[in-house]
Symmetry: C2
Subunit: 158 residues, 2 copies
DNA sequence: TCACTCACGGCATTTTATGCTGCAATCTCG
DNA sequence: CGAGATTGCAGCATAAAATGCCGTGAGTGA
């Protein structure tokens, strides 16, 4: 499946507003509702759209802390990576897991209720003996901005 | 405005599926459609829900690189932070900006088409003279998982 | 030029959203 | 304790949207 400009525009608009009605979306991309809906369905089926989600202002619900953690593993066999990833994925508070640089380190993104919660989770991970050698924490004081959308506009022709 | 368990459940479900129909959502939270819709509207109006977006599999559209960059500023007056943030926000490829640790450093998240694009953007930022002292790049080789939802489940009673 | 394919627009039907009305539970203040 | 007020609910009716079907026109290759 190959995407044309209209598909890219659809992706762009759906990133900005995932709950736009098909009728409105069709107007924005200059199509009538039917073919527009057909394209959206195809984009979903082909995996270009993996889901939709509401952006929740977590901070309004109560105190929250975001922490980025750089983790180094003791060993670097495939088994070691797999074990660590599986353990990390099960932790609800770890919302992102990235393998960085030369492939020996992970960068994790945590969201927890407090620094105490974060420490408790990290201690639990250490005790679980999933191959963590050492880690370094970047505690987020403030997030001036977090854009909910990816730079489709600059990366692809529209 | 105070939220009860049902509101939290609504937020949770809308995070998992932002395009769920009101009828289905109502069933999941054990309400009839009317009061359910009323609550969603209130959550939006009160700012607990800041928007909806489609998750786009950017990697399927073409090659992409994600980079986390730690940036240190030369000076640390309010003016210096403001200038940097305003410049960073205008760069489409910078999708997150976090102020970390003691308040002197930023952690940025970039998404670009290639390492070359990333370098070009960084060089442009340096040349713009917005107070960047030095920076360190964490290039993402692979992202084992990125969860689209926040840990509402563990942080709040449901 | 003609047959074929593909994508579109328009229309009809089904599904969903949305506003209204009345009822039940809870709260409050005598 | 008890009566009125408040809050939040379900059910219903109407408006809006999604969805499937069909005919049409542009582009392609023989």
């Amino acid at each position: 499946m190959k995407l044309d400009r209209i598909d890219i525009r659809i992706l762009y608009e759906l990133q900005k507003n995932g709950r736009i009605t098909n009728v409105e979306l069709a107007e924005l991309v200059h199509l009538s509702p039917s073919p527009c809906l057909m394209r959206v369905k195809k984009l979903q089926q082909a995996g270009y759209i993996t889901g939709y989600s509401a952006q929740v202002a977590l901070a309004k619900l109560g105190p929250t802390i975001t922490v980025f953690t750089e983790v180094t593993l003791k060993n670097h066999r495939k088994m070691d990576f797999d074990r660590f990833q599986q353990a990390a994925e099960k932790v609800e508070e770890i919302i992102e897991c990235h393998l960085i640089s030369g492939g020996y380190d992970y960068l994790l993104k945590f969201v927890t209720g407090s620094i105490g919660d974060y420490q408790a989770i990290m201690e639990r991970l250490i005790d679980m003996d999933i191959g963590i050698d050492k880690y370094f924490s970047f505690v987020v004081m403030k997030s001036p901005f977090i854009k909910p959308h990816l730079p489709l506009k600059t990366m692809f022709p529209m």
